[in-house]
């Protein structure tokens, strides 16, 4: 279950960075595609060279690729004042087109081979013995999943405890105020978008290497949008986004585990299939309530405009 959540956590954290600086990034899906593509291609190409370390290096390379690709979104939406949603949508289209084009060019077919160098799975000692929770959270997870959780805490620290974080939040709420205080709005926004690219790149690579083991048109299908949902659900807070991603993972696995429980056996499978989504809507409506985006998100900052 935690395996399903990890790519969402990474990507949602990326989304938090970007939107906290005031840049909406609907292109997370496309950035995940880039990450997935890069991770798999690297893994396939260099498995012989790096051996067991391959997936880890592949994730780093995917991170770099995601960062570079997100530069397009940054340049368009920050420097050229493009509508952020438009630019994000273009990122999504471009990522899918480009990666499939390259896959066909590189491999002469529509999908890559399967990677053989995988991440290791672990049971976390002691914790995995805790009844129920242990099984859900601590058994049979990937190291990388726990890294995702640790990273969420790190991101929280960065955003809420460091000068950089203070500037990020200021730029997302009131860029002109930040500007008059000598904060370079464009620089901070670039940082936010590039970080979102880095994180989504990791998320995509982790998804590809923990779920499908290959790259094709369907490797990333909607995970980026789910990550956006997790970010909003988590109220643009790193720990909230992580919680939401875990919630999605939990709801997904409930719908899968549920099918094998006697109680659920007789109810039509459709109820279990839609359960994660319906549960999310109910949770949002019932307990979570309204969520306010960073005030300036979606708006290009033009010096001197009122």
């Amino acid at each position: 279950m935690i395996g399903l959540a990890a790519p969402l956590i990474f990507t949602a954290l990326g989304g938090v960075f970007s939107e906290r600086t005031g840049v909406v990034n609907i292109g997370l899906e496309g950035l995940m595609v880039i990450g997935a593509f890069t991770g798999i291609v690297f893994n396939l190409t260099f498995a012989d060279v790096f051996g067991a370390a391959t997936p880890w290096i592949a994730v780093l390379v995917a991170m770099v690729a995601g960062t570079i690709f997100s530069l397009l979104h940054a340049v368009a939406s920050i420097t050229f004042r493009a509508d952020q949603t438009v630019s994000g949508v273009a990122i999504n289209l471009l990522a899918v087109g480009l990666t499939l084009f390259l896959v066909k060019k590189l491999y002469g077919k529509g999908q890559t081979d399967m990677v053989t160098e995988n991440f290791d799975r672990v049971d976390v000692k002691f914790l995995s013995d805790i009844p129920i929770i242990g099984k859900i959270f601590f058994s049979n997870g990937y190291y990388i999943s726990y890294i995702a959780i640790v990273l969420a805490v790190v991101v929280w620290y960065i955003i809420f405890k460091t000068p950089f974080g203070l500037r990020i939040r200021a730029v997302g709420e009131h860029p002109m105020a930040a500007d008059t205080m000598g904060v370079n709005v464009a620089k901070i926004r670039y940082a936010g978008v590039l970080l979102s690219g880095a994180f989504a790149g990791i998320g995509g690579a982790v998804h590809a290497m923990t779920v499908s083991n290959e790259f094709s048109h369907s490797t990333i299908n909607g995970q980026g949008f789910m990550a956006i949902a997790a970010m909003i659900f988590g109220k643009w807070h790193p720990l909230g986004a992580m919680g939401a991603a875990l919630f999605f993972g939990l709801a997904q696995s409930l719908s899968i585990v549920g099918a094998s429980l006697p109680f659920f056996k007789d109810i039509p499978s459709v109820y279990l299939l839609i359960a994660p989504y319906v549960l999310t809507i109910i949770a949002l409506t019932g307990f979570i309530g309204r969520a306010d985006a960073p005030k300036a998100s979606g708006l290009p900052y033009i010096k001197g405009k009122r």
Binding site: K161, T162, P163, L166, R167, R169, A170, E173, H174, M176, A177, A178, D179, T180, M181, G182, V183, K295, K303, G304, R306
Partner: protein, 511 residues
């Protein structure tokens, strides 16, 4: 002569307009220098140039005699220039300290050292008698307090030259008085201040010299001691201005607005209006005087249907209207000039013409069975634009592009043209220049003379005393006194607004 700031022959263009044309401003060390001009004269632009937000096309800036290039606010900060902006530059969800340290954060091992920062803020605040709570969140503190944060921000950066852009437009009289004190103590510490304001009284009170601008051009600099409000006003507008609008004796008739025992809660659920009773008759202007936050906003929102009441009644021409939909209430004859014209008064992305019909677009002849008749709409807009002297390139221009004064005139035209039995005007002249204020006051009185009821809410005691026929003092959600403006003074009113004469005045009001 030693100048700390010299802006020489500054020219700044925006697409299609020259905002500053060959303007010169010289500020001496230790003085309070006023910058005066109509709305849109180019004052803010000039200051933004000095602060590094805009780059001038021409001209030279010298600080302490040295020519400098100020290409961004950081450089301005380094040169000791700080600016308190017309619209506050504060991040709402942040604490006071966070706002102040932003961009110059003290940190230890990569972590913001909030403790140190907050201590330093406290020290600064004490030194200049600002009594600021470093840990409060911006969204929880008053406007006056927010302004002090803006001042602290500049002091924290070691500013020697402070620019204040219309600092008093949003303050209560008490807060204004305190601000004047603060400015004086800053000057005593050796700082220099540039003050932009439309209020000539303030200039006379604290400033040493004043530079006047008109339509982007510098008209000249005069010593305040050798000048008076009338000459300043005509220097600025280019004609004579009347400060006290002439008006006939009021002839109050039937009661139009009748409020009885009204109670309303504010957004946080605290009772803001407290068994309030008040009536306004046709043919009179009732002014509500009070310090911000004493229930004025909630009172207006209850009358206009934007907020639910918890008890009491509101009648318009004898018909109960409390808790009706806003549209029903407006149709029963209530017009409303809202306090915040950008947030509540206008759809800034709509054309000024569309904004003029924002209350009436659905009525005949502007629309028929749900279909708009744009030629009729713009006909009507044109006539209001010319009648109310709204200066706009055309009726199709987006409202956003108009100056504040002209936006306000459009709103007033819209509301008055509907000929409502009751006109509620909340802070109708905030931030406007004397010419525009004169115009708006005339319109309110004209409305009264046409036998309409007018309810005026304002923090400007001048305005309240000049325009109203009766003054109701609001304190903690109650009307604590009703006085005749000709029989009272600003001092007296000020005391009542602070709650001192509550008992005695309260007795009177029920008489």
């Amino acid at each position: 002569m030693e100048y700390v700031i010299e802006m020489l022959n500054i020219r700044k263009e925006f697409p299609g307009i020259v905002a500053n044309d060959n303007v010169t401003l010289q500020v001496k060390k230790g003085e309070i220098h006023a910058l005066l001009g109509e709305n849109g004269a180019g004052k803010t632009t000039l200051m933004n140039v000095l602060f590094g937000l805009y780059q001038p096309e021409k001209g030279e800036i010298r600080v302490n005699g040295e020519p400098v290039k100020i290409t961004n606010p950081n450089i301005a900060n380094d040169l000791g220039i700080g600016m308190v902006h017309q619209h506050f530059m504060l991040v709402d969800p942040f604490t006071v300290t966070e706002n102040i340290i932003l961009g110059k954060e003290p940190s230890k091992a990569g972590k913001i050292n909030l403790k140190d920062a907050s201590k330093k803020v406290r020290e600064l605040s004490e030194r200049y008698h600002l009594s600021v709570d470093p840990d409060a969140k911006i969204k929880d503190i008053s406007v006056g307090m927010q302004q002090r944060i803006e001042i602290l921000k500049t002091l924290y950066r070691g500013a020697e030259i402070l620019i204040f852009d219309e600092p008093t437009a949003v303050l209560t009289p008490q807060e204004i008085k305190e601000l004047m004190m603060i400015m004086k103590s800053l000057v005593n510490e050796g700082k220099s201040i540039i003050l932009i304001t439309h209020k000539l009284k303030e200039i006379m009170e604290v400033c040493d010299r004043v530079t006047v601008m008109r339509k982007g051009v510098g008209i000249g600099t005069v010593n305040v001691s050798e000048s008076d409000p009338n000459s300043l006003a005509s220097l600025m507008v280019g004609r004579d201005v009347v400060f006290k609008t002439e008006k006939k004796e009021a002839a109050p008739a039937d009661v139009v607005l009748d409020i009885n025992g009204l109670s309303v809660k504010d957004a946080r659920g605290i009772q803001a209006v407290n068994h309030l009773s008040l009536s306004v008759r046709a043919g009179e202007i009732v002014g509500i005087a009070g310090i911000d936050g004493n229930g004025q906003t909630e009172l207006i929102e209850a009358i206009t249907g934007l907020k639910k009441t918890i008890s009491g009644s509101i009648k318009i021409n004898g018909k109960e209207i409390q808790n009706l939909k806003p549209r029903k209430i407006s149709e029963s004859g209530v017009g409303h000039i809202p306090e915040d014209r950008h947030k509540h008064g206008l759809v800034l992305d709509y054309s000024i013409g569309e904004n003029i019909v924002l209350q009436t677009y659905y009525q005949k002849p502007l629309s028929k069975s749900g279909v708009l008749n744009y030629s009729k709409i713009y006909d009507q807009a044109r006539s209001i634009i010319s009648e109310y002297d709204v200066r706009t390139p055309s009726e199709y221009t987006p409202a956003r592009a108009l100056s504040g004064g002209n936006q306000q005139k459009a709103i007033i035209g819209r509301e008055v043209d509907r000929n409502p039995d009751l006109l509620i005007a909340a802070q109708p002249t905030r931030g406007l220049d004397v010419g525009a204020i004169e115009f708006i006051h005339k319109r309110l009185i004209e409305q009264r003379d046409n036998g309409k009821a007018v309810l005026l809410i304002s923090f400007e005691l001048d305005e309240i005393l000049n325009v109203s026929d009766r003054v109701a003092v609001i304190y903690e959600g109650e009307i604590v006194a009703i006085v005749n403006p000709r029989e009272t003074t600003e001092q007296e009113l000020g005391l009542m607004m602070a709650g001192s004469k509550r008992m005695e005045a309260g007795g009177k009001s029920h008489g």
